[in-house]
Every structure is written in C-alpha cells, then in structure tokens.
Symmetry: C2
Subunit: 235 residues, 2 copies
C-alpha cells in the first residue's frame, strides 16, 4: 500500500524534535512526567480510533467521543453541520471565531496490581492537545481531511471506497486543530511498592491488555464476487 504513505507519511519529515511546553501542558504533579516528543505523540494519535473532544458550552465542560484523522501537524474531526461543537465553531456563513477545545486520546495497555491498594495503577499512553479548532472551508483541504478520517480507521481505505460527493461534502463539517500545544504521558513497567509491603502475601504484577481484530463480517448485500481485500485480511 504505497498510497498509505501519502497521508501517514506526511508526518515523517516533521516527526523529529519536540513540542514547546506551555503552562497548560506542564503538569502540576504526578508521575509519569509529560513528554513533548513529536514522534511519540504521532504514534499514540495514529493508534487510536476515537478521541475525546472537550469544549465549553454555557460555561460547563462537554466531552464527546468522536472520530479523528491526522495529516502531518493537523488533526481533523468531523460531524454533521448541525452538531453542537461544529455550529459553535462558526463556518462559511459567519465569521469563524473558532472554538477552544481539548482533544485527548488514550490507550490502556495493562492493569498494574500492587500489594497495596494505594499503588494500583494502569499502564497507559495518552496525548492531550489544547487549542482552538476552526471549520475547514477550503474544498481541497476538506477532501484531504475526510480522506484522513477514513484512512485513520483503516490505512489506505479511502482509495477503496467511493469519495464523498458534493451533497455529502456539504452535509459534513470538518474542524481543524493544529498540533501546537501538545503533551504525551506514558506509564509503562511494573508495580511501585512500599518496601515494607514486599513481603505481603498478595500477588503483584501487571496484566497486559491486548486489542485485536475479530473475523470480518461482510455486509449482507455484498456481492459474492467481492473478496476481502488483502489490506483487511492482514488485520
């Protein structure tokens, strides 16, 4: 699938160096420490299917799960043109003030079981992005964003599906969020334990969590001549 490299690969030349820490991305407390490494941030973002998008409505926080895609240093989320965050972000018919958002992606990798209740934890990888999301109005960028959203679900899939038509493009609003104020947190490894607890008779260690793919379920109307393509069979 050399085409896949067009989207995912755009990041490669940029995936060096680090994001600049800011007041919002420097944690007040807590291990693990934050990381600002671009390559790490990209890898965590690219592995997720759903992000949690936070915005403020009438002074109160709202957190909704939503699909996303990445093109280099830009994230895209989409939704119906009538959905709340997308209406709040303005659009072609009104000046676009943008909408302050926080976009978070988390993978849970393992259960950390300590001898003490206090030291129970989770191995995880997360990315938190702060910024102002703005509606994408340029038709070319919108197409690129929608391809990225489809390719985020399965890399290369946008090349094996019918592209959006004018009506579908008009019904879909896309928000862009630049990767500028970004941090990652990763907890790996085993249990932390108080030295005096080591002799306690409780099992301690890590139970890894693994995610995999089940058997593909073809659409009931699928033409029998259409076989499962290699890029899906390889999952």
């Amino acid at each position: 699938m050399p085409e896949t490299a067009t989207t995912a690969g755009e990041a490669t030349p940029e995936a060096h160096g680090s994001y600049e820490p800011t007041d919002r991305t420097i944690p007040t407390r807590g291990r693990p420490k934050a990381s600002y490494d671009r390559a790490l941030v990209h890898s965590i973002l690219d592995e997720g299917y759903v992000c949690h998008l936070g915005f403020v409505r009438d002074g109160a926080p709202v957190v909704l799960p939503t699909l996303y895609g990445r093109v280099g240093e830009r994230l895209y989320v989409h939704g119906s043109t009538g959905s709340r965050p997308l209406r709040m972000a303005g659009g072609p018919r009104q000046p676009d003030p943008g909408i302050a958002v926080c976009l978070t992606v988390t993978h849970v990798d393992g259960l950390v079981l300590a001898r003490s209740a206090f030291h129970h934890s989770i191995n995880y990888r997360s990315v938190v992005v702060h910024g102002v999301a703005r509606q994408v109005t340029d038709p070319e960028e919108k197409r690129t964003a929608l391809d990225a959203l489809v390719d985020h679900v399965v890399p290369g899939r946008s090349y094996d599906s019918r592209a959006a038509n004018a009506k579908e493009l008009a019904a879909t609003a896309v928000l862009r969020l630049d990767l500028e104020e970004v941090s990652a947190k990763v907890r790996t490894g085993g249990v932390n334990e108080e030295p005096e607890d080591l002799a306690l008779p409780h099992w301690a260690g890590v139970i890894p969590l693994v995610t995999g793919y089940g058997t593909a379920v073809p659409d009931k109307d699928l033409d029998a001549a259409v076989a499962l393509p290699d890029y899906l069979a390889a999952l």
Copy 2:
C-alpha cells in the same frame, strides 16, 4: 467471589428505569439516538478502565484520562491532593463549591467499512455524565470510594491487597459525581449505504475489535510461594 457483589451488586436494585433526559443529554442531531436506561449505562461504565474527565480551567476545556469507580449511582475519581481538578473542587480546608465536570466512557467495538467514504463509521458504546463533582471528606465514604476504584480495575481485588493507611488516605483526594444527568449512545450492526452504492466493487462490512488479557507478568520481587490467584487466572 461473593464479596464482589458488595460493591458491584449495590447497583442491582437501582438498575431499573431510566435517567431523566435534560437539555444537555438530549442530542441536537445524529444517530444513534441517546438512551437513558440505567442498566445500560451501568454496564458501559463498569466495563471501562479509564474515563475522560472534562473540566474548565481559565475558560478553556481540559480533558484528562483517569481511573474511576462506581458505587450504585455514584462515580468516584481520585488523584493527588495537588492535582488541578481536585484543588479546584475545594476540600476540607475551604468551602467546597464543587467543580463542573463532564465524565465520558467509550468502548470501540468495531470498524464499519462502507462502500462510500461518507458512511464509514465505528460501532461503539459511550456514556456521558454531566454534573458537579465534589470532594469526598467523610472518611468512611472515602474508603468505600477507594475500594471501588481498586475493584473497578479487577472486581474483588480490594480484598486481596493492603488497604490504604492514614498517610495514603491523606495524600489521596477523591471526587464524587452523582449519576443524575446521564445518557448513553450505542451504535451496533452493519453498514448504512446509499442504495445506488450497493453495486460498487468495494468490500463492505464490519471488522470487530476485541480486547483481551495477555499473560500476567509477576513483579520481580514476588515471593515464589504467592501463586496467581484464581480471580486473576480467570481473566
């Protein structure tokens, strides 16, 4: 593990009926429709390991992944007493105004691949809880909450670990969020497709995502006499 029923089971008598829809939990748009069914909400919450907790800081949204536990109609999250949302919620030394939060839990169950890019989707189950979180100051409730947090990682685990001591309790802040303004969304099933796309030569269907447990990794200092307990081997 009859003890497990003490925590998880408290919900059983209440897990009937529905939450009252509010302006915030009635979606403006979009399928799937929201559900307010208590049993469904509880089942989605109990299956998750990490929630995404949103709050507002200096007018901007913040979304952080964090562990949580449920006791009946109450959710608990915890953190260091110095962490931001916990300091913002006040505590024993100051009047507790609470902190407006939105707590969201999402499971991704499958990739929905349509013949058209537009109809690509995800099968998922999510719960969104709106409310005001307040610090737990009652020592008994705090202990119950911390047990629930540990038992949420592995049911019954709080009985097979050393309970928090006074110093650990003092270092841990716990926030409570009542399940009052709550909705669930579930997408299941196959692809939606435009009738005119059915004959296109693209594979369409659902790729299920499955989560499982890997082989338990014992702590390097674990006494060889401490075997993996049945409730962990059963995972």
